[in-house]
Symmetry: C2
Subunit: 133 residues, 2 copies
């Protein structure tokens, strides 16, 4: 299939697919006589693999590492795959923690603000940001 069909079947933008090729993630397995990229069914599977990696939050570098394992499973061990997912999990839980902290601060910040049309002179949002803690 040509690039636009792969785009349709994966939902990945053709520009992005070319970018993935340049990044070493997904190379079309053939070229037509006109130099068009021709993707195989295996390429489609790889593209979907990449998409799922993205949905899990993996960076392109991590995705590349996972792809390398996928492409040559016998040369790799479980520990490699698990260390990638574990570091990602750790990163994610850190981010969640940070966001929850922000959420708490913000909720507190606006808890006593009326949110109405009255002057902001006594707005707790502003005064709390001013005062700090």
């Amino acid at each position: 299939m040509k690039i636009s069909e792969l785009e349709k079947r994966t939902g990945i933008n053709a520009h992005t697919l070319r970018y993935y090729e340049k990044s070493g993630l997904l190379k079309a397995s053939m070229r037509s006589v006109n130099n068009y990229r021709i993707y195989s069914e295996d390429d489609l599977i790889t593209a979907l693999f990449i998409k799922r990696c993205k949905e899990c939050g993996f960076s392109l570098a991590q995705t590349a590492a996972l792809l390398a394992i996928k492409h040559d499973k016998s040369l790799h061990v479980c520990a490699e795959a698990k260390s990638i997912t574990e570091s990602k999990l750790q990163e994610i839980s850190q981010q969640i923690e940070q966001l929850q902290q922000m959420e708490g601060t913000l909720t507190e910040l606006q808890a006593y603000c009326c949110g109405g049309q009255e002057s902001a002179e006594f707005c707790t949002i502003i005064s709390t940001l001013e005062a700090g803690k």
Copy 2:
């Protein structure tokens, strides 16, 4: 105080302080005869306000809006401040939700992976990413 002292007292990099000035967030209230930036105590308060906004996750544009309210409270109303915090809160809870989804997927992904030195041929992490759902 000069820029390096403000840097010390706020923990905000001097480059960043200049950047904030260029972005319209924080202008030194004076210049010395040598054209050095001279910051007042009020400027210090503003810098700390900016820092707290950053800790809450506000973008520079949102921070600028909050600063405008702070600087002229009587011209603004609570509704303005609250709409900023509310949109930020919504954004944050969306991000948290997304991250928790990833966290769940990743946890499931690696639940059955031994993580050991055996071949990745039957690694559930890789096979789950391949299979999708």
